[in-house]
């Protein structure tokens, strides 16, 4: 049975004010439960594409449909369906305690206070963050901050979670924490899209890899088929593949 289509991108282009091409003529479809890596060197258009999925940027031409509805006409619905975790958690933290930070999205959606408290508590427990609920987010470790950012998205019940360089500036334990959270989210049915220029940590879990260059989608396919093409697009090939061992799990 064909999985259900969640996001449909049709001929989307975006050029910045200074004339730089962000993305050009993108045709893509994302399906329920997929784990997608969006790879490419810096400036290849990954972040620009991700921001279109959440309605932070709107296509200058073409169309993006989320669950069959045009993003530009259904912004709130889109942002509920597609949650976005940014590269730098420090600049996306709005609340002064972990609890308030996670509650922010639900307050915007005008949930009742009682429901907010219940949902936030549940998500914090699910992500093992409950013991930090009264902490100031700026005092947390890198991995914990990123998990708080994920909790802030997860509490809004998204179907798709988009990550922009989720492992940047994280130490090994932080990377492990975030990676296992992302894998659990995918196992629980969320569609995951990760933009990264370092695919080593997630390539084993990914079901699909999309390689971008100069705003264009250059390759789209299964990781095992494309792993040898990565370096020609400025993306490091995983060590195991380089040594002829194929794609090996990074996380035991």
């Amino acid at each position: 049975m064909m999985p259900e289509k969640i996001i449909d991108i049709k001929s989307v282009c975006h050029t910045f004010e200074d004339g730089t091409i962000g993305i050009k003529d993108i045709f893509l479809s994302f399906y329920k439960g997929e784990f997608i890596i969006l790879a490419g060197r810096n400036g290849s258009g990954k972040t620009t594409l991700l921001r279109h999925l959440n309605g932070l940027l709107l296509p200058q031409s073409g169309q993006i449909l989320v669950n069959g509805k045009t993003v530009s006409n259904h912004l709130v619905q889109t942002r509920k369906t597609v949650g976005m975790v940014f590269q730098d958690p420090d600049t996306q933290i709005v609340g002064d305690t972990v609890f308030d930070e996670v509650a922010f999205g639900l307050e915007n959606l005008k949930f009742k206070r009682h429901d907010i408290n219940e949902k936030v508590t549940q998500v914090l427990k699910d992500l093992s963050l409950y013991h930090l609920k009264d902490r100031n987010p700026s005092t947390l470790s890198g991995g914990e901050k990123r998990k708080v950012a994920i909790a802030g998205i997860l509490v809004m019940d998204p179907e798709v979670i988009v990550f922009d360089e989720p492992f940047s500036n994280l130490d090994y334990p932080g990377t492990l924490q975030v990676l296992s959270t992302i894998i659990d989210l995918n196992r629980s049915g969320h569609t995951i899209i990760i933009a990264t220029h370092d695919v080593e940590t997630v390539i084993d879990t990914a079901t699909r890899i999309i390689i971008m260059e100069k705003g264009l989608v250059k390759e789209d396919g299964r990781p095992c088929d494309l792993v040898k093409h990565l370096e020609s697009y400025g993306v490091k090939e995983p060590c195991s593949s380089k040594f002829g061992l194929g794609i090996r799990p990074w996380l035991n």
């Binding site: 921001r51 959440n54 309605g55 932070l56 709130v76 942002r79 509920k80 949650g83 976005m84 940014f86 730098d88 420090d90 600049t91 996306q92 933290i93 709005v94 609340g95 002064d96 305690t97 308030d100 922010f104 999205g105 639900l106 307050e107 915007n108 959606l109 005008k110 949930f111 009742k112 206070r113 907010i116 009264d134 902490r135 100031n136 700026s138 005092t139 947390l140 470790s141 802030g152 998205i153 809004m156």
Partner: protein
């Protein structure tokens, strides 16, 4: 990991932590205004009360003073200006510049009052979550027509929340410059420009990112109303604040 500034909220369970932010807001406004006409002995008594609350808030006095040293320098300028300007019994004179006894007394009192107001604010911000400050501001502004109270409250809350991040960025920039021998530069204006320009750039970029992050989580002015959680000790605290204010004015 960001370092805490003395103005950052610290988790705790002291009476000040538990009090409703509206009550604390009202109390600090009342006490700060009463300070205008207070005399030195009463100010000293109030200072002792503040020291007690400072300890309760988990702040160490000397460490706190170290981190507000620039403000203390500002107070010294106020003190010096008063000492030189106010006329009276001359203690010391040099090339027509005189320091008077009245000037020293008045300068010390004014600087000390400013110091107490700042310390009160510091105790308030260390024991009150920015979200509670936002909630209180929103509640106070609600009856005022044509004021978008929710927007103003969010702006205040974000400004308070961003202080430690900006301070951390300033430290990072300063350290990066020191690593390249920037402290050999003796011109203070050049030093400030070198620090301020990259700091502003980084701050604006962070603000842009924050806007995107808020937008991506459906930010709107029309949000779930905040929740107040009074501890039941507010009346007692307000009565004490009124008594302190009366004491500051009349004694």
């Amino acid at each position: 990991m960001a370092q805490l500034t003395p103005f950052t909220y610290r988790q705790g369970s002291s009476i000040l932590h538990l009090l409703d932010a509206r009550c604390k807001f009202f109390a600090i406004c009342l006490v700060s205004m009463s300070m205008l006409s207070a005399r030195l002995p009463v100010c000293l008594f109030y200072f002792l009360i503040l020291l007690f609350f400072l300890k309760k808030a988990g702040l160490k006095f000397f460490t706190t003073m170290g981190s507000i040293k620039y403000f203390l320098m500002f107070l010294f300028f106020i003190f010096a200006a008063r000492a030189l300007i106010v006329e009276g019994e001359i203690i010391f004179s040099f090339h027509g510049i005189s320091i008077t006894k009245q000037g020293l007394n008045e300068g010390f009192l004014v600087a000390f009052k400013f110091f107490l107001v700042m310390l009160t604010g510091l105790v308030f911000s260390a024991t009150t979550k920015p979200s509670s400050v936002k909630t209180a501001v929103q509640w106070f502004l609600k009856p005022i027509p044509f004021v978008p109270e929710k927007r103003v409250a969010v702006m205040i809350s974000l400004s308070l929340g961003f202080m430690p991040i900006i301070a951390q960025k300033a430290r990072d920039i300063s350290d990066a410059q020191k690593a390249r021998c920037a402290d050999l530069e003796k011109n203070p204006v050049k030093k400030i420009i070198r620090l301020v320009l990259p700091l502003l750039k980084k701050t604006f970029l962070s603000a842009d990112n924050l806007v995107l992050a808020m937008e991506s989580r459906c930010y709107t002015d029309d949000r779930t109303d905040p929740e107040f959680a009074p501890s039941g000790k507010e009346i007692f605290f307000l009565v004490c604040s009124i008594l302190i204010s009366v004491g500051l004015i009349s004694l």
